[in-house]
């Protein structure tokens, strides 16, 4: 019993987690020929929330046909609660020595959590700026690029879509640039 609880609280190695992530693609195809992707929900949410008269054309479509995706996002929230609260890993993420050092250099402590508390301290206006600015980039970029990590890097690549390869490479170029240049800059200001 304690062993089972230990397992449920433990993080999984990549060779278990990766295949389980990949299985989502055939699972959703089988459930109803759905292409697995999460960022489209941001569009659906806009289509639902915006008043009819103020809507740009991009949000004029029957979002009710995409309810499955909103349900999927709802499931993500529940899954996050189940694995991140009830069966949370009590230990800090086991980073590589180099990774732990870089994170310390950023001024962030590695504590048992998914997201560092330095970046959730809302008494710091810099944190607001960082969270808001990255949200804006993510929202704008996913719709412009037609997908995010799930839609392009997982679904697109595993169904051999050329455009998804271009998108995934671009995701990484952007991510490498901001994680190595922009984030240290932000952290120095927030510090």
């Amino acid at each position: 019993m304690t062993e089972l609880l230990d397992f449920l609280h433990s993080p999984w190695p990549w060779y278990l987690g990766g295949p389980l992530i990949g299985l989502t693609v055939p699972l959703l195809l089988w459930l109803g020929n759905k292409s697995f992707g999460i960022s489209a929900n941001l569009r659906h949410a806009c289509a639902i929330l915006l008043p009819e008269r103020a809507k740009p054309g991009f949000f004029h479509y029957d979002w009710r046909r995409e309810r499955w995706n909103l349900m999927f996002a709802g499931g993500l929230v529940l899954g996050g609660g189940l694995a991140g609260l009830i069966f949370a890993n009590p230990e800090p993420t086991r980073l590589s020595a180099a990774g732990a050092q870089s994170i310390q250099d950023l001024g962030v402590q590695v504590r048992p959590s998914l997201f560092p508390s330095e970046l959730t301290d809302l008494s710091n206006p810099g944190v607001w700026l960082l969270l808001a600015f990255s949200g804006l980039l993510v929202g704008f970029g996913t719709r412009y690029g037609g997908g995010c990590t799930s839609g392009h890097a997982i679904t697109g690549l595993s169904t051999l879509q050329g455009p998804s390869l271009i998108a995934t490479v671009s995701f990484f170029v952007g991510g490498i640039l901001s994680a190595n240049l922009l984030l240290p800059l932000f952290m120095a200001v927030i510090g």
């Binding site: 999984w12 941001l42 949410a45 899954g79 609660g81 994170i103 944190v127 799930s150 271009i166």
Partner: protein, 158 residues
């Protein structure tokens, strides 16, 4: 699955609304599954994302590589097997729109946000569920970004 014998006089076929509701519930469960996997595999960990973008660990690369490999093999097998989807349709994969501009420019923009916040859309929902409330700021501004794209769409190169 199909051709189930029905008892005369007894309506065994579930109504379309019941079917739709059950279907939606299955997507909720699929999301729950994926959310648990994202947390347990640490793909929703800010620390792991930062480590990945600095090439300091194999974890995320192994995770994404094996995910794509598994998705590829199982999707090919699913399509080759001739198995129909739950609602009896032939399995088909929708092709992404052709072109490159939107994928480069949009991809770079998204990547910048991903590296800066250490979260992409999936983990965004997962972290809210895990009680990391400040992520709601990221989510709100992601909605604003999406709206902004809707407004500017016609003026952007695609």
């Amino acid at each position: 699955m199909t051709g189930e014998a029905s008892i005369p006089g007894v309506h065994t076929e579930p109504s379309s609304t019941t079917r739709a509701a059950t279907g939606l519930l299955l997507y909720l469960l699929a999301g729950l599954y994926f959310g648990v996997v994202l947390v347990k595999s640490e793909a929703a960990s800010w620390y792991r994302i930062q480590e990945m973008f600095r090439f300091e660990s194999f974890h995320m690369f192994g995770l994404m590589g094996s995910a794509v490999f598994t998705g590829m093999v199982t999707t090919i097998l699913l399509r080759r097997s001739g198995l129909k989807s739950r609602d009896g349709q032939t399995i088909r994969v929708t092709d992404k729109e052709k072109g490159w501009r939107r994928y480069v420019f949009g991809g770079l923009t998204f990547g910048m946000g991903w590296g800066l916040a250490g979260v992409c859309p999936g983990p965004m929902f997962v972290l809210v569920g895990a009680g990391v409330w400040p992520i709601l700021i990221v989510l709100t501004f992601a909605l604003l970004g999406t709206y902004l794209y809707g407004v500017l769409k016609a003026r952007l190169p695609h």
